[in-house]
Structure formats: C-alpha cells, structure tokens
Symmetry: C2
Subunit: 351 residues, 2 copies
C-alpha cells in the first residue's frame, strides 16, 4: 500500500507578539519528516476567507515544501477552479511541476462551500460551467506547443502559448474528489484519478472505490488501484481515553466545517456534507486506536483492493506521524500478500 | 552602497530530450550564490506568452529561491497588476512574505507590452484603472484585520478577510518602475519605492533620482536613498574585445525586447521604450568593462547620492557574478566616504 498525507496548515492572525508563520513552518517540517519516514505524498487543502487561517495559496506553500524534499509528491486537494484564472493557474502549477522534477499531483474541484462563492461574488450555480471551462483551458495550456486562442463563456485569450512547460507529460495527474456514484463514474470516464473523502464509512469508501473500478474496466482500460486515494483520519492512541478524546475532537471539528460550508437553508446536496454526525460514525471512519486496531481497518480496505491511502492527522502531530510509520506502515508496505508466507528462520552455522 | 540583482530565468520548451527545468535551476543556484557573495536582493521579471520561456509565475519561482536562502530580499520587477485577481495575488504574496520571514519586495506595474494586453484580451486603455483598483484592493487585503467588501469597476468581493497575514507590517514594501517626471513624482507621493530602468543613460538616471528625492523632501519627509534602486547591466570584461562583444549582444537584445513590447504603429509613449538604440548609448548606460571602468561609473552614481543598484548580468554568468563581488563590490560596500580617512597604522609593541 502507499500512504500519503492530506491536510492543511494554519497561519494565525494576531498582534506583533504572534508569529503567524509558525503554523506554516510546522507544516513544512512535518512534511519534510514525513518524506524521511516513508510517506509518499502530501495533499494540501485550499480555502479562502475562513478567518481562522486556512491555506489560501496552496501552490505557493507546496513550493516551499517541494524545495525541502526530493521524492514527496505534491498534491492539491483541491484547488477550486472557479476562483482562478485558468491560464495563470496553469503557469503557476507548471512552475512547481518543473522545479520539483515532476512531483505535482493536481487535485481540482468545483467548490462546495456556499460562503466562498458568496465572497468571490461568483454564483454557485456557475460552478459546473466554470469548472469545465477552466479545466479544459488548463489542459490545453499544458499540452499545446503551438499558440492558440480561447473564447469561452468566462475567459478570453488570444494567440497565447503558456509557459513554462510542465515536467510531467502530457501533463501532471489530475485528481478529483467525488462521492456520488454518477460523479465517480464521470471522474473515471475523464481519465482522472479519484480522491475519496475521510468522512464516509469504510464500507461506503469501498463501494465508491468499486464504482470507479467498474467504470474504468467497462471502458476497457486496465484499472490501477493507485488511481483511487481513500482519505482517512489517523491517530495512534496511547490508550482508550486518548482515543475517545480524539474522536470527540474530530466530530466537533467536522461539525464546525460542515456549518462553514453549508448553504443558509441547510440543504446542500454535496456528498461532502452528507456524513452522519455521530460519535459512532466518526469512530468507524477514522483510523484511531492502537496500531492493531488501525491495522485491522487497513486490512479491510486492502482486502477490498484499496492500495492508496491519504492520512489526515490531528494538528500535525509529529508523534502520531512517527508512530504510524513505525508501528503500522511496515506491515502494509509493498504489495498485498497473496497468501501467508512462512518467515525464514535464521540458520545456525558453525562459527 | 547596496547591490541587488535584477533578471529572469528561462524555461525552454522542447522535446523529451530537453530538460526544460535547467534554466530555472540555474537561476536558483545563481541567486543562492549571490546571497553568499554579498548581494542584497534579487528582482525577477514577469512576462506571459513570450514563446521564449520568460518567467510567468514569478512568486512561485521566488518561493523556491526563498526556501534556499536566508537573507536575500525577494523582489518582483514587476508583477503587472492588470492581469491578476488582486485578492488571490495578495494571498500568494503574503504567503511568500510569511514563509520567508518578511523578505518580499513587491514590485508592481501597470504593464507596457501591447501584445500581452492583447493576449489577455484586456484593453490596454484600462491598464491605469485596473492597476489602481488592484493595488488599493491588495493593500486593503493586507492591512484589514476585519472583514470587508469591495465593489469596484473590475472586481467584486463580499465580506472577506484575506489570509494569511503578511510578515512585514503594515505590508511589504511596494516598488514601482517609472521614468517620466510626473510618474516619478506620483510614485514618491504614494510613499512607494522607485525602480529606475537599466536603459537610461547615467545622467538620466541621476536626474530621475533627483526628481524623486525632491518630491519626497517637498512633502516634508526624510529621503532614504535606499528607496530608489537604479538598474544597470553589468559585465566584468576580460579585455576590450570581450567588452565590445557584450555591448553588441546587449543592444541586439534590447532591440528585440523593444519590438516585442511595441504597439503595431510603433508609437508607444512608454519611457521603457524611449532609449537610444545605439552602441554608444548601450555602452554608456551599461556597467561593462574592467573593474576600474565599472568602479568609475559607480562612483559617479554614488557622488550623485545613489546608494542602491540592481544589477542585470548576461545569461546569469556565475563568473561575472563572482568577479563583480570580488573586484568591484568591496570598495562600495558600506556608506559613502565623506572624506579620505587615513588608514590606521598597526602599532609596534614589544612582544
């Protein structure tokens, strides 16, 4: 299995005595250590105007991470295309891809937080159309070696060639988050990779994984399990109390984020907001517990074919990062076991 | 005097055998070495759709430079505000300022290349208005600790608070390029710092320096010579032939760039395009020659009060960077000499 990270950093606003950069520096160091511990990737969220310091310029933060690492894949989860000028974004993303030696994993979305659309003064009803036009223009920008023009509904460019070129050809992998079956099938048909959220139950994540897999195979393509990343919260707990406290904190945080994203009438249909807000559901979906408890959940996912996990840790805890790498990861590194393999016994030799 | 760098990197587009990232990596290493050699800053240009690989995402490239340096000031020269969403740009610039410990020097302009406006499908006639609205919105984004709304001619935002905060307070220094006397006075009245181009003659650069200084003093403020950066091409030549070749190459390059920027009728009034396209003019404005010849030109600028130079070297030559640092810079480091100071003689003591 392959383990990446999924998360955010926080830059607090405050008076002259507060070091607002500390949260960003902690995030960078967390990822530098993650690479050394064997994590494969880091995916960072992007949000705007939250008031509590979520990352807004994700490619810029990732560029600093990239400059301090050498193998870690650099993911966005996700850049909301309707906010961005697609051509400027293509330039920025190509720059980090080129500088990092082709390590960008480009996660994109159409957005789901009602208040972000309101703040950008962009009608949420335009999200789909803006997303489609933006994505098509980004792909064209990355793949066209000749000048071209674009006259769409939202963007106009005349006689452009977009620089720099990406390092990955034809372009960096495109990731999309989806939860509803039709959306998942659409991601597969586009040839994009799929991110599954950390809130859905284990079974729901497996069901969604299977929908994607079936759609890829129905198109006659070979399914690669690395193309579906299942996000999971993770916390290696010291004891039962430690675990219970973490689950409570997680539920409180989920509820707060859901409120932020919800439309005023509370009737958003986003699959991101349809999880059960109960302690049991939070405990089931999260990989919280002893190494053995976590291993059990991972084994269930692996048995279903899942090979790619994105882990989200509480407050960037380094201790947690190390504990998982030390006590859980080794048993799941490499391909899934086909059958029980007897452990070779050391031979006694005459010295 | 203080010596910074001014320049660009190039990412060539090509087939699978071409490493397009080499030019960007060379630029980064050039700047890492520059910091070690005592250069104070690096200012990078931003251009779009040139077809020969100029830097488009300048803050992203600078972020990588920033992650590999610790004192080098990180300048944009310039970001053309009419292309950018001012709030996204404020977020991106604040991110590098925060991560770098407050090393951003934010150079902005309204743009002058006709073909860039045409490619962005933005009328060049809107440049002034877009620049003013963009700059005001960026400054508000950086300095407001409360949510605000903006409804301008080109941009609309509702109930936003822009994150992360900048490290420098109230905000990073703002630099503007100007050449015409009225424009220079306006930069002074805004309280912004002034960049002077590398094409004007020494005397014209001094005249422009004096216009800014006079305007600052006329407002009753104390003039700081570090607030005016005079750009100069620099090349420490091995011999007369080496120097002559460099001057010819420089003139050819100037002429090519001027053609790129010019409007179809050839009647742009930009001061950036009003230099004399002759070998004599190119030789006079450039600091090309032996260390003594370069020192003579620097001494003339210093005698006129200029203390801050941005140097543009040919093709990022490391040899040139080192030769200037070794053979020219030491005599001009620190404050200008008021008068000849007798060198203290070591006292002979009984051992």
């Amino acid at each position: 299995m392959k383990f990446g990270l999924f998360g955010s950093a926080q830059a607090q606003r405050g008076g002259p005595d507060l070091d607002s950069g500390q949260g960003f520096r902690d995030y960078i160091e967390y990822n530098v250590e993650a690479e050394a511990l064997g994590y494969d990737s880091t995916f960072v969220v992007e949000h705007h105007f939250t008031g509590f310091g979520q990352v807004s310029a994700s490619l810029n933060l990732l560029t600093w991470v990239a400059a301090n690492t050498s193998t870690l894949r650099l993911g966005t989860a996700v850049i909301v295309l309707p906010w961005h000028n697609p051509v400027l974004l293509a330039e920025q993303a190509a720059t980090i891809d080129l500088l990092s030696g082709g390590r960008l994993e480009f996660g994109v979305g159409k957005g789901y937080r009602h208040n972000e659309f309101a703040s950008f003064c962009i009608p949420i009803e335009e999200a789909d159309e803006r997303f489609e036009e933006g994505l098509a223009l980004i792909l064209k920008s990355w793949t066209s070696n000749e000048r071209f023009s674009h006259h769409g509904k939202f963007w106009h460019f005349e006689n452009i060639i977009v620089e720099p070129p990406t390092r990955q050809k034809p372009h960096p992998p495109i990731w999309m988050a989806a939860g509803n079956p039709d959306s998942i099938r659409k991601v597969a048909r586009r040839g994009c990779k799929l991110m599954l959220d950390q809130l859905a139950s284990t079974q729901l994540a497996i069901d969604r994984f299977n929908i994607y897999k079936a759609e890829v195979e129905a198109m006659g393509r070979k399914f690669d399990p690395m193309d579906v990343a299942v996000s999971r919260a993770f916390f290696v707990a010291k004891n039962a109390e430690d675990k219970a406290r973490a689950i409570e904190a997680r539920l409180a945080n989920q509820t707060r984020l859901a409120k932020l994203a919800q439309v005023p009438g509370g009737d958003s249909k986003s699959s991101m907001l349809s999880f059960d807000q109960t302690l049991d559901a939070a405990a089931e979906s999260a990989m919280f517990g002893t190494p053995d408890e976590i291993a059990e959940k991972l084994a269930r996912l692996r048995a279903a074919g899942v090979e790619h996990i994105l882990l989200n840790g509480p407050s960037g805890s380094r201790e947690n990062l190390r504990a998982f790498a030390r006590d859980v990861m080794p048993a799941f590194s490499g391909p899934a076991p086909k059958a029980a393999v007897p452990r070779p016994q050391p031979q006694l030799v005459n010295s």
